[in-house]
């Protein structure tokens, strides 16, 4: 490992270093504000390191990790999302009695795991990153210890996550047994050298997909999603919905493109079924939900389905063309989902989650700005113009139409129609008249700033996406070529 490779890993080392700093800080002086501040500074430092590493890419830092623009772009996205979630967590937990100081630490380790995933080109780093992420998440979900729902969610996540890891390992083992390779490029060489589809590798990829499908909560691996989202503290639900899913999806895409697994066309049929099921099932199950967090959980299942549609299109067009829609859609999904969960978390406290729909009645007239922001987030999730969600959906449409996936596109349209119903239902409830209940809410200035930034991004990128499109284009062409 030479000095260049070491420097290229600076964003990751910065994160790891910050985690240690937070740990030492807690040992010296328990203070929630201090821990959050250290964590925030660490994330910002890591982002700054990203910027300085960018010009020298790509660097293959050991066989485990490739630091290219693709990885850096997504690490930046994940870190920014982590920063936003940290802000929401601060407001959410600051009034809670008890020991909150480990929360930023766990967020940092989860982010480290996610960043490793985004950069990994080897099954070993892949698995380490995934486990780092999952184990941190498990503690984060159960962080409000004295609450039954949170604990239930944490246990559920732990057990199912363990099972899915087992699937994943089995899949890796099968692939390794046949090809003798754990390095993605090596697997590519193996696949390229065979004309026919190898049954062992095929089943291996299927098992890997089952393990990842759990993390992405694709139907039929989705059963944990609503319970965990409901039980976890609101900002952490947002974190699971974005960082955890995003990092896994980034890895999945990299695996498929760099090993050329698209050559295994039967796989795409399996994915198509999963995508269609996720879109239709997620939206259908959300229809009758009266719990906003469960509703957002089901909607996130559907959104992963949309994303998978763009991913599948990589089978019929050049895979470089697929990186672009996926990147944009992920970014749109991040902004919107963090914003939506941010609103929920502003309204919630560790004692009482604001997840019942009745709680939102008349929100428009009680807290107009918050309701307006939530409305914009929901419209963006529904893919209505003026919001970034629309441009994202437009990207999915172009990608899938390019690949000729008309059946899946039809599923997307039907799913969007169903989706409108439940998004609009929340908006309707918010606009209903309600006797003004004076709730003594605290002024969460940090959350308000974050929500404002997210809303500005949402509208700005919805109206004028060119700037971002240019960046993403350079990422996808330089990164994956």
């Amino acid at each position: 490992m030479n000095i260049n490779q070491f420097i290229a890993l600076a964003p990751l080392t910065a994160l790891a270093g910050t985690a240690i700093a937070v740990m030492i800080g807690i040992a010296a002086w328990r203070n929630f504000v201090l821990s959050c501040a250290i964590a925030a500074v660490g994330i910002v430092l890591s982002l700054a390191a990203l910027g300085s590493v960018w010009p020298g890419t790509p660097v293959q830092a050991s066989p485990l990790m490739l630091i290219d623009v693709y990885a850096l772009f997504y690490i930046a996205l994940l870190l920014s999302a982590g920063l936003a979630v940290l802000g929401f967590c601060y407001d959410y937990f600051k009034d809670r009695d008890g020991e909150n100081e480990e929360l930023p630490l766990l967020l940092l380790t989860a982010l480290l795991g996610a960043s490793v995933l985004a950069a990994s080109t080897h099954f070993a780093s892949f698995f380490i990153g995934l486990e780092l992420l999952s184990i941190s998440l498990f503690v984060l979900i159960g962080y409000p210890l004295n609450q039954a729902q949170a604990l239930e969610a944490a246990i559920k996540y732990l057990i199912l996550s363990g099972v899915s890891s087992a699937f994943l390992l089995m899949g890796i083992a099968l692939i390794y047994a046949q090809s003798g390779e754990l390095y993605f490029r090596g697997i590519e060489g193996y696949i390229a050298s065979r004309d026919d589809i190898n049954a062992m590798v095929f089943s291996g990829v299927l098992l890997v997909m089952a393990g990842l499908g759990f993390k992405l909560s694709l139907i039929p691996f989705h059963l944990w999603t609503p319970d965990v989202y409901q039980g976890a503290p609101a900002p952490i639900s947002g974190f699971i919905a974005t960082v955890s899913k995003g990092a896994v999806f980034v890895l999945l895409l990299r695996y498929f493109v760099s090993t050329d697994s698209y050559a295994y066309t039967p796989l795409l049929n399996v994915f198509s079924v999963m995508a269609a099921l996720s879109i239709l099932g997620g939206n259908l199950l959300a229809l009758l939900q009266n719990n906003v967090k469960r509703l957002l959980a089901y909607s996130s299942i559907a959104h992963m389905g949309y994303l998978l549609v763009a991913f599948i299109a990589g089978g019929s067009v050049s895979s470089v063309l697929i990186v672009e829609p996926v990147a944009f859609y992920l970014l749109a999904y991040f902004i919107t989902t963090i914003g939506a969960f941010g609103v929920v978390s502003v309204l919630s406290s560790p004692q009482a989650e604001a997840d019942d729909l009745a709680f939102y009645r008349g929100l428009f007239w009680r807290r107009p700005w918050l309701a307006a922001i939530f409305t914009l987030m929901l419209l963006s999730l529904a893919g209505i113009p003026l919001t970034v969600g629309f441009i994202g959906k437009f990207y999915i449409f172009t990608g899938a139409a390019d690949g000729g996936l008309w059946g899946l596109l039809l599923a997307v349209i039907v799913g969007s129609g169903l989706g409108l119903y439940y998004y609009l239902r929340i908006i309707v409830v918010m606009s209903m008249d309600a006797e003004t209940v004076k709730t003594g809410f605290t002024q969460d200035w940090l959350s308000n700033v974050l929500l404002t930034v997210l809303t500005i991004l949402l509208v700005w990128l919805g109206i004028y996406p060119s700037l971002l499109v240019n960046i993403i284009q350079s990422v996808s062409y330089d990164g994956m070529a």
């Binding site: 437009f394 997307v412 609009l424 309707v428 606009s431």
Partner: protein
């Protein structure tokens, strides 16, 4: 630049109205009036341009062009011809009517109400001018959201259901259109190598008959849902009935016309051959819609629902007119759009006035109103007659031209559609008979129109008569646009 200002002014006015609403509850409606007046003044400029159009080779005057998303060749591209100019004028006029009919009706949250009303108008004006397909879709969606809020917040008893139904119908159908747009652009890219959403570029895309048919269907469904034509019309009676009066006026008067506009501007010129083959089906849908909706209107007991069904009936004529695709029929469709906009807006306004005074929309609960409020009843009779197509009023000209143009294309369907001339007096006069004649049982004292209402309805009466007596002035404005559309489709 004027074109951009037309949209900007309305949207800016919307924000100002909202802002003033927080400050003083009565202010937003005045803001709306001022904004609409300025908008009307702005419209003088394009009318000046119409007079000088004779020498220009193209029917288009006025462009506004800014690159928007170069990655996909998307441009912020507005243009205007006589057809869009007429519809924008209609939008502005009905904007006044909507403000007037909301003047006393809307008491709660006026700021947000007028914000939605003006944004809705801004979106509609955008739809009529956008000449980039992506931009068109953008505005197409943008006008739906404020309308959704208008219905779901200020509507009547069943508003939530109606609003969500309205939104889902239009949204799902418009996603089909988006799909068709994207597919068309991709086909165009394959042929030329560049992305472009521009209308003029896409006009000459070479399409296989099969592709053309499916793409045409995507557009066609989106527009016929909005129009609405028969199998897709069920959202309309609900939405119209539940919307506040101002919302109904905009919905019936302007928003339905966006569907007709889309058919005329996009479906036929972009896919002339497919549209030609599809014409018998489309015309049959139109004819069945005309008759079916007339019968349904006759069966309604709710005044607003009745008017809503008459709208469906009139829109059937437009569908027939557009797919006949000859000069007379197209001009007839244009006149029908304008005349129906005026008469439906007036009828909805009257229904709103009656509901405010009687607290009912049931015709059965009215009865004998003529003896109590003769002025109001006379105006109602006027617009009922306009709606049934009395010669001398605008609707007659439109329907006559459509039937005349369509007769050469498809005699059987035209003859069938013409039967509505028997059916429409049934519902129009039936409504008058049940609601306004006979002995007055329940209402001893009712206030008639006040000055604002007289002024508003007087304006509409005037426009209706003017359209009926001298349609040539309007026909002259739209003629070059129709001419060039027909030339485009023949190429």
């Amino acid at each position: 630049m004027i074109l951009f200002l037309l949209i900007c002014l309305l949207q800016l006015g919307a924000f100002i109205a909202w802002f003033f609403g927080c400050w003083r509850p009565g202010a937003p409606r005045w803001v709306a009036i001022v904004v609409l007046t300025l908008e009307a003044l702005l419209l003088i400029f394009p009318y000046r341009a119409v007079e000088s159009i004779g020498s220009l080779p193209s029917a288009w005057f006025g462009y506004f062009y800014v690159p928007w998303i170069p990655r996909f060749g998307i441009e912020f591209y507005l243009a205007m011809d006589g057809f869009s100019l007429l519809l924008i004028t209609l939008t502005v006029v009905l904007g006044f009517i909507a403000v007037s009919s909301s003047w006393a009706e809307i008491k709660h949250r006026q700021g947000f109400f007028y914000f939605n009303l003006l944004s809705c108008l801004a979106g509609t004006v955008g739809v009529f001018m956008a000449i980039d397909l992506f931009l068109f879709f953008f505005f197409w969606e943008l006008m739906i959201i404020p309308m959704y809020f208008l219905i779901s917040i200020w509507g009547h008893e069943d508003r939530t259901y109606a609003a969500i139904k309205f939104f889902i119908f239009t949204q799902v159908s418009s996603l089909l259109m988006l799909l068709a747009i994207v597919a068309l652009v991709l086909i165009h890219r394959e042929a030329t190598g560049v992305y472009s959403f521009g209308y003029f570029e896409l006009l000459n895309t070479g399409l296989s008959p099969e592709a053309a048919f499916w793409l045409m269907l995507g557009f066609f469904i989106a527009f016929t849902v909005k129009l609405p034509a028969l199998p897709f019309h069920t959202w309309l009676p609900d939405a119209h009935t539940q919307a506040p009066t101002g919302g109904s006026v905009i919905l019936a008067g302007v928003m339905l016309k966006t569907g007709a506009y889309g058919l005329l501007r996009f479906v036929v010129p972009l896919f002339p051959d497919a549209a030609h083959q599809f014409a018998p089906v489309a015309m049959a849908m139109g004819a069945i819609g005309v008759l079916y909706a007339a019968v349904m209107a006759f069966a309604q007991s709710d005044l607003k629902r009745l008017i809503a069904y008459t709208s469906v009936s009139h829109m059937g004529f437009i569908l027939i007119g557009v797919f006949s695709w000859n000069g007379a029929a197209l001009q007839g469709a244009v006149i029908t759009m304008l005349a129906h906009g005026v008469s439906a807006a007036a009828l909805f306004m009257i229904a709103g006035i009656l509901q405010k005074r009687l607290h009912t929309r049931e015709i059965g609960n009215m009865g004998g109103l003529w003896s109590v409020v003769p002025g109001l009843s006379a105006v109602t009779l006027f617009f009922a007659l306009a709606s049934l197509g009395l010669p001398g009023l605008g609707n007659f000209i439109g329907e006559f031209l459509v039937l005349q143009g369509a007769f050469g294309v498809n005699r059987i369907l035209t003859a069938a559609a013409a039967l509505v001339l028997v059916l429409s007096p049934l519902y129009a006069l039936g409504m008058m008979q049940k609601g306004f004649y006979g002995p007055c049982s329940r209402h001893d004292f009712l206030p008639g129109f006040n000055r604002r209402e007289w002024a508003t309805l007087g304006l509409l009466v005037f426009i209706s008569v003017w359209l009926g007596l001298s349609p040539q002035a309007v026909l002259n404005v739209s003629a070059p646009a129709m001419q060039s559309a027909m030339e485009v489709a023949e190429r």
